[in-house]
Symmetry: C2
Subunit: 342 residues, 2 copies
């Protein structure tokens, strides 16, 4: 079975995904009988290419590494916009990795909608569409007999959504807690080692963890959107990020961080959601955690979620040392699982 | 689809499994179209019953709770031994929960072998058969088109083996580390709170965590057998418990535990396995861990494993607050996954 793949976004994650596809090419064929070609790549700043016979991925990666990528030079025909790209690329699977839009989930939702309508599987690492259009896109996917997949949108490539689709039959999710935002976790840790808030932010920006405007992380929006995503998909209670009681880390001073440390504690931005009767209580809030909490050891950009199930009272998942490669793996797993119906 | 289930062992896990089957009866039918009857239960000390039309599970559970269970009184015909039971019970799935035999895996291996040969799915919570006969039983299962399942044999019902069968396609396991023996973890924690080794053992025995002869736990055999099981199944390197470098906790005195505690550390019995070239280095050894280690917060009878994959460098799984109910859930998940081929 040969699959034509189209990529929207070719930043760190897109490139890592391309490298992973190349590295796993043989194993994909040997274990799953899958071969692939990448028939299109669309970016915001490096052009767009459609190549029905397959783009030379190794060459494109080399050019990207050299900072010399002009995708339009590799296109079989001119493509005006990402929108046009999604409507015309000849592909079986769309991988959507555009920047997240917390407010509306656009334009990613539209890309995924078009891809599904055209009979493609739609895979995204983007939380926006998940929170703002999970039901619509899942139902559309069902209508066309394809899949809407989003493993990498929460905790990078750690298996969260696939865990609940597969290995946990009949388990009833009552709630969860954890650390879901890498950026604030890193900032708090840097402040523990003596940095000011501004220094910590600068460091996080320098390694690509914080954005130029880091307020979505710092004010707890990213964590809230992830709580909403997990609640919507795993608990089945549609929740918007705005409905999550939210407090970021702006109120946590380096002095508070140091004082906590001296008493053997750490400040963490903790996410919690719990079913109470027919409603769901969800919050994002800084908490001091003790060394005996599983949250204490979650350092740097690692993340953690602990599920309370009727059948397993404390099932925790740690994602340690994440990077673009781990996010890329979530996309690959989604691709394979979409094809094999898992 | 109706399934006839046979149970070997009706101790805490067997009874919890029976209760779980009853509690999930409706959901099993609604979500998976599965109905069931329990056609046989075999125990070492409370008799054996075969009832082709189905045993009245609620009644049996009540009698067991009253300490008044004589299974032979509920049997359609006399059954002389567990061996005879396994050879004659009319069933589609055998759940094997007899006590573990570290040295040979018997008689559990023979029960599972007979069950598979008779065309039944074979499910066990028992590490013995896994370590001593994984390949044979898996291959036999393949020949007869049935499944050999063992989720509950390591970390109770936490999804470990099913995680690698499903959500982690093409991920290559390089090694793992963790805390896999509940009993020693509890003993070390009790010593932290001031108890002597003997007091800690007495406590663990009183709550059913340590056996009358607790040496299999204390000397690291149970941990070693679990390392061997994970290595054999997940890394694909057949390893016997005897091949795991093994040191138990007899050398760890209450004084050492207290000293570690005063310097912010904890003694833990740590399991490690790592592929090095074509060989596998595996060990069980007490280590002092710092508060920044994910092992530090693993308290009481909880357990933890962290996998190093080529695609996910630090994927950790915590099993918190386990009990017979969590082990029972692993058996239920195995049953469902055997039927649906997951």
């Amino acid at each position: 079975m040969h699959y034509k793949l189209a990529l929207v976004g070719f930043g760190n994650v897109g490139k890592a995904f391309a490298r992973l596809l190349l590295r796993k090419r043989e194993a994909l064929e040997r274990q799953f009988g899958l071969t692939f070609s990448v028939t299109g790549i669309a970016t915001a700043h490096h052009g767009i290419a459609i190549q029905p016979n397959g783009i030379a991925l190794e060459d494109i990666l080399k050019l990207a590494e050299q900072g010399d990528l002009h995708l339009e030079e590799h296109s079989a025909w001119p493509v005006n916009s990402v929108d046009d790209f999604v409507r015309s690329v000849p592909a079986d699977v769309l991988f959507e990795n555009s920047p997240v839009n917390h407010e509306s989930g656009q334009p990613a939702i539209e890309y995924l909608r078009v891809a599904l309508s055209r009979g493609m599987h739609a895979v995204t690492a983007n939380k926006g569409p998940l929170v703002h259009a999970y039901r619509e896109l899942t139902s559309l996917a069902g209508q066309v007999g394809k899949r809407f997949m989003f493993e990498s949108s929460v905790m990078d490539g750690a298996p969260i959504f696939s865990l609940f689709r597969g290995p946990l039959p009949l388990a009833e999710l009552r709630g969860f807690m954890g650390i879901l935002n890498s950026c604030t976790n890193l900032l708090l840790e840097r402040m523990e080692s003596g940095e000011s808030f501004e220094q910590a932010v600068q460091y996080a920006q320098s390694i690509g963890i914080a954005e130029t405007d880091p307020s979505a992380d710092i004010d707890g929006w990213d964590a809230a959107i992830k709580v909403a995503a997990l609640s919507t998909v795993l608990i089945g209670v549609a929740l918007l990020p705005q409905q999550v009681a939210r407090e970021g880390i702006r109120g946590i001073t380096p002095q508070m961080v140091q004082e906590a440390r001296q008493s053997g504690k750490r400040w963490k931005l903790v996410c919690r959601a719990r079913r109470e009767g027919n409603s769901l209580l969800a919050q994002v809030k800084p908490e001091q955690v003790e060394a005996t909490s599983p949250l204490y050891a979650i350092g740097g950009t690692s993340s953690y979620v602990q599920f309370e199930l009727d059948t397993l009272p404390g099932l925790g998942i740690v994602e340690g040392n994440p990077g673009p490669e781990t996010t890329a793996y979530g996309l690959l797993a989604d691709f394979i699982n979409a094809i094999r119906g898992a």
